[in-house]
Symmetry: C2
């Protein structure tokens, strides 16, 4: 290959690799997942991801340099957000690729769910059908602000921490489907375990809002339907 073409190609692949490198860190993947739920400040991200503020800030700089996140000042806070839905879609795609490539991911998930007694009998596609059809009570167990920033249509918000106290709000006869931040977030598993202990029929949906939207489905940002 002629020199100039090689140099050009090397430069371009350097840039592509930079973007890939930005997501090639467990910490930053976690930050991206958190940002996919809603925009957040550095301090909030550091707390949720169990990082020092300085460390979180540096990771965010890396993500910003790769233009995967954007920063906006709000008074004394800086709020970070994902830079566009392509980033969400890329994240979902990467997770899917990884799940097919690294068998260990599936094993880890199965192990974890089994240990909590939340092994799924129903497959996820069927669950999605029922969610779409409104044939189940859909429970969003994330913190309320994340629910407010976007949730599955018809879902009601019952943050995991409040679940025990608010069980009476849920109709006993209808099966419950709980979801949270995504396939690797286990708040929904915790919720399902609790619900089953209390006699509910409950299942875990391994999709979050990000996956839902990446599938081209509608997301609600309104307060959401009150429990029937």
């Amino acid at each position: 290959m002629p020199r100039p073409a090689r140099n050009y190609q090397a430069a371009v692949y350097g840039h592509v690799a930079r973007v890939a490198r930005a997501v090639a860190s467990p910490r930053r993947l976690e930050l991206l997942e958190l940002l996919a739920q809603r925009p957040r400040t550095v301090e909030a991200l550091a707390r949720l991801a169990e990082l020092s503020v300085a460390s979180a800030s540096q990771h965010l700089q890396v993500l910003r340099a790769a233009r995967l996140v954007e920063a906006e000042r709000h008074g004394t806070f800086v709020e970070y957000r994902l830079a566009g839905t392509e980033v969400e879609e890329a994240l979902v795609a990467l997770r899917q690729l990884a799940e097919r490539r690294e068998r260990e991911i599936g094993e880890l998930t199965r192990d974890f769910l089994e240990r909590r007694g939340v092994l799924e009998a129903i497959d996820s596609e069927e669950l999605l059908q029922r969610v779409r059809a409104g044939a189940v009570t859909v429970l969003d167990v994330r913190p309320a602000e994340e629910y407010a920033a976007g949730h599955l249509p018809g879902a009601i918000s019952v943050p995991l921490a409040e679940l025990e106290a608010r069980l009476r709000e849920l109709p006993r006869r209808r099966p419950v489907v709980a979801y949270c931040r995504g396939p690797y977030c286990m708040m929904s598993a915790e919720a399902v375990a609790t619900l089953r202990r209390r006699g509910f029929t409950a299942h875990r949906l391994d999709h979050g809002v990000v996956e839902w939207r990446a599938r081209g489905e509608r997301v609600e940002t309104a307060p959401g339907a009150p429990p029937p």
Copy 2:
């Protein structure tokens, strides 16, 4: 978040990051592009990517550990290939994401093409239409073995090195569209420059077989149509 859930999540993101890290290297991106054209031996890859054999082998081990490529022994050679079309699709998706995120990529490309006098007037979507409609002579300027492993429907194989000598095979009246390995491969630009110097109407298609297939189009592996 409870400890076990955190540990689980950290482990999973570790695996996802491993896959991302495997593609987060300019060298390995180049190897993947070369493998996307056709399966190859370590030695061939080392030569094409201008790497030492040992170094190429190590990069291939990384890619294999992430299960992005597969190895198969053929006698004394080991032939590497991409592990499934998901990998191709992920590559195309990554490039697209990077192109939207890193403005420099577009600039580098524009610069390079301008310097060769191959600045495109026609936009790529229209070019694709014409290629699909068979309204142009489609030229595959990659080495013949890559053409044999898969090419755009109706394309004829004229490796860049042979182009000057085989110009008479091409109909003068029809516009020519040249393509090669993908958006960052400049063999097609070289070909277009040559063709224009010789009085042809010629354009560069910034898609390769991988992009073509990722769009859901058919790829030919038969010898291909002879020049009219």
